[in-house]
């Protein structure tokens, strides 16, 4: 509610159709059904048509990369705003997933259709086990620890010269078909997006949010906080590892750059811009940010500056993000009233 100078304020009211379509009665009317379905259909349809609408192979490749970032942003948003664990280590998930998939493919000769699920599960287990000691931490402390993990892993790989050292692992199989490559990740994004949205509204989601808001009371209720945090980290790191495993087969190469800060920072920026805590917002944010960064590729490192400035602007001036803003406009109308 913004105060204006001449003693007016903005009043927001829910649209009638929003209120009517909240209950089961929405089924009774096409108008209300379509009000409910419109945003979802636009999102799903848009994502499915997007690769067909792209002018060239290059931009189709960009869409795949956008989806990778979207998955990471989704996992960040889930962990940060539903469980209260701010993980700055998206690159750690990506790196683990990609190295596992790369090893499985080059050393054991498994095809992508097997390496991706195995890397997802195994990577999630490894990430969860490694993060287990820091789960009791919270706030800034957890954020800093998770920021350090990918850096540490990169330095260790560099120092010990294991896993291909600085050259990385080369000669990884790609997908059989480029449409499969494209639609696999898009379907995964849609599936995980709606899956996590459903998950956070289940009973377990309620416990997650309770852990975020007041972990002492969860503990007092006889529920193990660490157990639920472990489950949440397993889910989030699984999403990240899936993205990593896919990335390896997309680039046909796994190396230290999968542990780079990009994968930790960009998803967070996407979340901030898209709208934190909405789960859809981060995906949308990734679809806005990554293409912009591709368009600005000609400017070299200046694009990172742009990027940082956009992020800063959003944090300071519009911290709610695009999605929350859009939801408000869709569900409510505003009018000025005299105070």
């Amino acid at each position: 509610m913004k105060e204006s100078s001449d003693q007016r304020r903005k009043e927001r009211l829910d649209r009638g159709i929003k209120v009517r379509s909240e209950g089961i009665y929405a089924l009774m009317s096409w108008r209300e059904l379509s009000y409910l379905f419109l945003p979802r259909v636009v999102l799903i349809g848009g994502l499915l048509i997007l690769p067909l609408a792209m002018p060239s192979m290059y931009w189709q490749r960009v869409i795949s990369i956008v989806c990778i970032y979207a998955l990471l942003a989704l996992s960040f948003d889930f962990l940060a705003h539903y469980v209260g664990l701010v993980s700055l280590g998206g690159a750690f998930f990506i790196g683990t997933g990609s190295y596992i998939a790369a090893i499985l493919n080059t050393s054991f000769g498994l095809p992508p259709i097997l390496t991706i699920p195995i890397a997802t599960l195994l990577g999630a287990v490894i990430c969860t086990v490694l993060l287990l000691p820091c789960l009791p931490l919270r706030g800034v402390y957890f954020a800093i620890v998770t920021l350090m993990y990918p850096l540490l892993l990169a330095r260790v790989i560099e120092a010990l010269d294991i896993l291909g050292g600085t050259d990385g692992i080369l000669g990884i199989e790609s997908f059989a078909n480029r449409w499969m490559e494209q639609y696999f990740i898009i379907l995964m994004v849609l599936f995980l997006l709606f899956g996590t949205r459903r998950l956070v509204n289940q009973d377990i989601g309620l416990v997650f949010r309770a852990v975020k808001d007041n972990d002492q009371s969860v503990r007092a209720s006889g529920i193990s906080v660490t157990y639920y945090k472990t489950i949440a980290v397993f889910i989030a790191s699984g999403i990240g590892c899936l993205a990593g495993a896919y990335l390896v087969h997309l680039y046909m190469w796994a190396g230290l750059s999968t542990l780079a800060l990009d994968f930790s920072i960009l998803p967070i920026a996407a979340t901030v811009i898209g709208g934190s805590g909405t789960l859809v917002g981060p995906v949308l944010g990734a679809f806005i940010l990554v293409p912009i960064s591709e368009l600005l590729r000609a400017f070299g490192t200046l694009r990172i500056v742009f990027y940082a400035l956009i992020l800063l602007g959003f944090i300071i001036f519009r911290s709610e993000g695009i999605m929350v803003y859009g939801q408000r406009k869709y569900h409510q109308f505003e009018k000025w009233i005299k105070v």
Binding site: V140, L151, A159, I268, I304, I315, I316
Partner: protein, 288 residues
């Protein structure tokens, strides 16, 4: 003997990196992730003053410290003041500022071997059979002086006492008429000046490179976490622990592992004792 001397030098360098970060965090609970960027920026500012404007080296150092301090204060006044208390936003915003500064410098062409600052005094001497150049000795001397001056400043001046009051209990400090925002502004300014001081002391030992910004940030965070976030004396002690550990690993394992030590120190400290050696956070506040 070599380990002892170079360990001390390295430790003092780490302490210089960390003091600015520790000061800002201690007073206003702001994790200043732009610290490394300010360090590199002040190096380039000094270089510009000396080489482009042709100023006296000593004057340009003072000017660069002043400019960096003002930049830090401006960052607080225009950005951080709006998001205080929101930890994630603070981290993201300061990190974004740091990223913008560092990558902006890289884009602006500040890279390569040409950017060096001259040493204050050329030449070297021998201490117990180990040759040490004067600049490194100066680092130790000035570093010790800085710690001493900071101690005196925070114990015997009104601004310093106000800063310590803020660090101990912000609400009580506000009740006693200390302007919280002004003090946080001052802390950010002083913290940035300390980053600049570290830069002009340490950069003459090598080239000015943008990448140093990231390393300095990690080292500063490592030292502050091991020492306990917000504790200045803890930071100094932790600097010596990490400093000697780094030199020992370089001697016995290889230079590759130098950074691993810092990162491992952070992770181990946070897992075992999140408040660090001298942290004052209560156990319940940081872990469940």
């Amino acid at each position: 003997m070599q380990i002892l001397i170079y360990g001390t030098i390295n430790s003092v360098a780490l302490a210089l990196f960390a003091l600015g970060f520790a000061m800002v965090y201690g007073v206003s609970r702001l994790p200043n992730f732009a610290h490394g960027a300010l360090y590199v920026l002040s190096g380039f500012i000094t270089w510009t003053f000396v080489n482009s404007l042709g100023l006296n080296y000593f004057i340009s150092i003072l000017l660069a410290m002043l400019v960096t301090g003002i930049i830090g204060a401006l960052i607080y006044q225009f950005v951080l003041i709006r998001i205080r208390g929101m930890e994630i936003s603070e981290i993201m915003a300061t990190y974004a500022i740091g990223l913008a500064i560092l990558e902006g410098l890289r884009w602006g062409g500040f890279r390569g071997m040409t950017y060096t600052l001259p040493a204050f005094i050329e030449g070297s001497t021998e201490i117990a059979g180990v040759s040490v150049d004067y600049q490194r000795l100066l680092v130790v001397g000035i570093g010790a002086a800085v710690v001493a001056v900071l101690w005196l400043f925070t114990h015997y001046t009104s601004v310093g006492l106000a800063l310590r009051g803020m660090a101990q209990d912000e609400r009580a400090a506000m009740m006693l008429g200390i302007d919280s925002d002004l003090m946080a502004l001052a802390a950010m300014g002083f913290g940035s000046m300390l980053a600049a001081l570290a830069a002009v002391l340490l950069l003459p030992l090598g080239n000015i490179v943008v990448e140093a910004g990231y390393n300095v940030l990690i080292l500063a965070i490592a030292v502050c976490i091991v020492g306990g976030l917000g504790s200045w004396m803890g930071a100094v002690l932790a600097a010596f622990i990490i400093g000697f550990a780094q030199i020992l690993t370089v001697v016995y394992l290889g230079a590759h592992y130098q950074m691993v030590v810092a990162l491992l120190a952070i992770i181990i400290t946070l897992i075992l004792r999140p408040s660090g050696l001298f942290g004052r956070q209560k156990e319940l506040e940081e872990r469940v």
